[in-house]
Amino acid sequence: MDVAKELAQAVGAGAGVSSNYSREFTELIRAVSDAQSKEEEESLLKTEFKRLSSKMSEPNVSDKAMREYLLRVVFLEMLGLPATFGHIHAVNLAQKAQTVSEKRVAYLAVRLLLHRGHELCIMLIQTILRDLQSGNALEISYALSTASALVTRELLPALYAPVVGHLTHGKELVRKKALQCLRSFLAEEPDLVQQYPQLVEQQLPAALQDRDFGVVAAALSLYDELLTRGAARAVPAAALVPGLARAGAPGDGPAGVAAAAAAVREAFPLPSPAEMAEWRTRLVPPLVELQGRFLKQRITGSRGYEYSGVFAPWYQVQVLKLLALLGADSRDASEKMFPILLQTLHVVGNGVDAAYAVLYEAIRCIALIYPHPKLFECAAEALGRFLNSSNHNLKHLGIASLAELARADPSFAHPHQVAVLECLESGDQTLAKRSLALLARVSNVNNVEVVVARMIRFLRTGSLSPGEEGRRELVAQIVDLSERFAPSHEWYIGTMVQLFEVAGDLVDARVAENIMLLIAETGGEEDEDEGDDASEPGAGLLRVHAVLSLARLLRRLVANEEGDSIGDDDPAACPMAAPLSVETIPRMLLFMICWVIGEYGYVLADPAAQAHLSPGDVAAFHGAALLDMAARLLSQPLLSPAGRAWAVTMCMKLLVHQAETGPISIPATVEHAVGRLLAHHAPGNRDLLQRLLELRALLVSAPAVKYASGTVDTGASGAGSLAGDLLGLDLAEARWGAVASSAGGGAGSDAEPPHPASVRALLLPRDASSEEFDIDPSLGFLDAFVQERASRPALSTVSMVRRRVAGTELGGGSGAATTAGGSGPRSGIRFEAYAAPVLPVPTMATGLGSAWPGASGTGSAGAPAGTPASLPGTAPAVHSLNLAALSGNMDLPTSLADAGPAGAVSAGAPVDLAGAKAKQRWGRTGYQGRGDAAPGPAAPAASNTPPDVTTSPASRHPSSLDFAGLTATAAAPTAGMAPGAEAADRARAPASASVPAPRGPSAEERAAAALFAGVSSRPGAVSQPATPSLLDALSSPASPAPASASADLLLLGLAGAGASAAAPRPLDDADPWAPVAGLPGAFCCRVPSAGDTAGGSPLRLAVALPAGMSPADIVFSTSSPIFGVRTQPLPAAGPNVLVAGAVLQTPLAALPPPHATVRITLRVPGVEAPISLGEAPLEELPGGVAGTLLPFLSNPGSAGTVATTADFGQLWVRLPHEASSPRQGLPAAGPGARPPAEEVAEGALLAGHLRLVERIGTELIMAGRVAATAAGAADMLAHLRFFPDQTFKVTVRVPAGLAADASLGGQVAEHLAHAVAALVTRGLAPGPGKKQPGLATAPGPGAPAASPDIGMLLDL
């Protein structure tokens, strides 16, 4: 400040200068600075704005007045009010100002108000050029300043010469300004150097030696520009304001900034190595010399440059920066600098900030140039002074320079670790960020623990507010360091758990996955040879450690939620950390807790592990305690649904794993939690319900359970009686035990007694999460079972069902069982065939249901529906244990594993469907084998078919065969099926796309073929009209045919009324019998019947039921809301068989959506949950299009526009998809008995919603509307022509986009052609009782087809 005072006296003038502003302006300034509010200020400014704009536009404003007005404009703009009206006046005043004083202000205003590239700049050029020639040094300097601020590349050539001319001006002020101006020019136009080589060769070196120090500094700055090419020049405005950049101003976002930067780099490439070499020779000696002069303070013209006892610190910084640039890649150049750098380190250190600024620059220079050990040492020593200072600014620089040094050699940072960590926790965010960057740079295996611990502490306590970007960066840094340098897995896991706790939502979910993988894989080594456990104590402890740390967390979590104080005792808990709560706990952490404790909670019970635990831990985390904590977590009302599901699964795993090692205690809390949740939370959440029921099943069935406190209230006194064999779990155990032993023993016959816990262990295996598993897609394990079934005498359907439910018949038990075992599944999940069946005690039904929505009615907690077993039970439902949930990531294979024993008609159904869709041939090998062995009576079926049939009946309906095979019992595995199955493989793809469709067998034939092909005792069944024999078969329990074919629940397709009315004549060949693929054991068909004319009921399903069940017990439902299903009770067809019909309710408003399914479930009296019999995807329903003809009358939409033949013709050519259906065999028109075929056809078509456009002789042209998924309703045009030979041909055209998949358009057209043909045929078909098509009695859309259809069927 001494300098300042001295100068103040010297200048004197300045100190006394008062404002020359007018009273008006001074009052404005005072008013603005006194303004009490933003609003007040704004109103003042607006008033001023108006006043000023009118005043400035007055004529003849004096220069003096204008001078002030311009300042007032600057003032307004500074306060945020754009006053663009003043800009031109600034330019004008600069041009005409007469006095230096006015010129100064005018140029100043121009520089402040305009910017480079402003449109007014060009108007300044002449003024600037003139003033450059001025004799007044001040005027020249104003012109130079303005030129450097505003001149752009285009204007530059005019100015360059005069500016350069001033480099030798007599006044240092002008020389300095000229150099500054040139710097701006170079930034705009780097090529100037090439254009004017003497600049670099002569003028700049001369300037560097100038007597005046301001000139020298300007030269330095110009060199800086030449060397760096303004690397970061032209930063868009958005870069200044973070908020602005994010606000998404177009082109100004972060991407815009980056793009601008890239453009700048391209436009201003850094000097090439060759150029740099030239610069080195040119610059290094003078710069070194200059720095030497700085240090000696022997600069001429240096008055006033000393600052705080340091000579020109800013210029030294500039020199050092240039030296660093020059020495960076050159040992030679660096070596020339070493002495002066060393000198700088020693000389400048006098303890003032300016000296530190120079010191910092010197250290950075030393770090950047070719390394010199001595220099590094000195630099590191100097660093200590920064870091040990209490001044945060110095610490900041110290850390920054330490980071520079550590880049060359991290060891420099080690002595300063403590200081750095202090900075981290200083509460100063700037400092902390720098420190973290440094720490990340110097971390290694040795210090990572300390570093990361500090980082986490910083996260806990640090000043970074949540959501701060820096927090995320820090988390990423911690993860990165931990992954790179973790000294041990234990440490890594512990650290990550802490990290999740502190900032879980910022941690990548991948980290949690890694940890779980690590725990699963690393810890698993010990299990393979437990004998070696002692030699490798670390590996086994990993899991112990992980489980323990997560268990502690769980305990705290639960305790916090329950308001307990135990959480605070935990040494790991940091007082600063936000309390854990189920609401705020990071999702991944919760998942990790549930998974790890669930999977590996048992390790804490291991005596070997307990040796490593403190007695307190052993006591706190024994098996029952873990279960208790899990249950308490489960009970938390605020737990997320996903969290609850995880917690249930955790409970199950804990239960099962602990039961393996002996009796365990189940805390009462578990029962309570399950009971309460079942009552209050589960309904509506199927997944949770499923899991809870499974958990409850485990709870009650665990035979070894001893209740801990005796206070368990299971809600059922029958719990005891239910225990053990309840729910079929032990049945399953028995079976799985057999499987396991057969695999082990190689022969199923001498199976060992199953271990009681084996099934649980298989379902919830210990430590199997990282095991590989194989899937045998052929399901060869079923072969033996199927064979055995085939050779067995027939059983009545009812008894089959009963036994099936009881599980008696499921054991296949033949010696061939192990054939599949040889092909070697490697995992614990085995697919070998059944062996050594064990008879379980027949059981009763329980309330545990399948996952169908109907099951949610079982919510009453803990009250198994223990009704007497007067009816077949529903054990299969038990097998729908949600294995996916249980086994975490191994859902598919376990589900498959389950599907085998559980039976195809139970929970396996979804899997079955998946298999079918994937074109897996379930049990194919078995079929093939049988086929070869015994070619059977199915052959006649093939030979019976019409001559134009290109594939066997079976091949037309491969899916029904699939499912016959899949259910393993439904279709008797007979030889005749084999060729069909083979053909199906070949024909599957073409069958769906062939145009036109080959003429198939009749509906009945197909039904029969599909169901009874190869029934050995009734070879004639296929060749005869099928329906009677089919019903015969059904109604006659003594008949071996259906019995041997008996499915547990046989689902049969039955013909619709149209078929029955027309029988025995085949209905027609428009695919009325379309088996539904994917429905196990079921045969579904869609019949174009009279209902079709009403626009509905295309699907019929009939189910054969055991006696004692009513058709009302069959429940049909569809997954798509556009289909309604109406069940149709039917009279009994025989002593043991009931038939239920289901009718898809009308209207069928659209083509089946891609995923519509029909679901068939069986409701058994006394059992709450319906049994799923399977489901059929409707999308595989071919021929469903006929039902999609829309009644255009009620929708006078687009089809109505086809009113004339011309319309028809126009539209016809535009519709891309065409298909024809030529038909033969029209009934001969009896003399007078029947109307002409054309007329009948017309009536039928009209009834089928086609609209007649014109009838020309024997040709009909029709328009219609069809429903479609993709395009809604769409036009359809049909052309029908009758030929003299009693044949006719239908040609249909449909628009693109009619089907969801455009490629299916042709197929849709084909279906429609068939459908139209079918309508015609039906209309012409003779027969008693035939309804006239298109009768007024046809129900309107929405009304279901009349039930007589099915009734008539049964009349047969």
């Binding site: 009010l81 868009p236 405005a237």
Partner: protein
């Protein structure tokens, strides 16, 4: 490279704003930006360091009474040198006006800008750091009143 030089008071009112090359913002967004910076500076304690990062730039600030002198620079610039430059600027103002105050900045706005122009060039480099040389051209321009010539202020060696 210096990107901007600002003087903002505690209530976020701008008393001086000078943006160096490259940044052309509207007056409204400038005022907003400046108020934001003032708020950020206010949020920092005396003991914390005088630098922080904002946007793409490093902000260096120094507080004098109710005024924040703020300079925005590139991130790798020598922050301490900039901090000292602020002080040198204030010294220059102080020496020119004698005990400079917030009102001086407003009432003698043109002079303040002229002084700053000597210190920081239009494209953001540090030009002059000697208070005498900083004040010289302005004093000369005001010469009629001050009665001083520029040569009086400069080093005699130049004569």
């Amino acid at each position: 490279m210096i990107r901007y030089v600002l003087v903002v008071n505690r209530t976020g009112q701008t008393r001086l704003s000078r943006y160096c090359s490259g940044a052309s913002m509207s007056p409204e967004s400038r005022a907003l930006f400046e108020a934001t910076l003032a708020r950020l500076c206010l949020g920092r304690s005396q003991s914390q360091c005088s630098f922080f990062e904002h946007g793409e730039h490093q902000v260096v600030y120094r507080r004098y009474a109710s005024l924040f002198f703020i300079i925005g620079t590139d991130r790798d610039d020598n922050a301490l040198a900039i901090l000292e430059l602020i002080h040198q600027f204030v010294i220059s103002l102080d020496s020119f006006f004698g005990n400079v105050s917030e009102l001086d900045l407003m009432y003698r706005m043109d002079m303040v800008y002229s002084l700053l122009d000597e210190i920081v060039t239009a494209d953001g480099s540090i030009a002059e750091t000697s208070p005498a040389a900083i004040a010289a051209p302005l004093s000369l321009a005001l010469g009629g009143k001050a009665g001083l010539s520029v040569t009086d202020l400069l080093d005699p060696a130049f004569h």
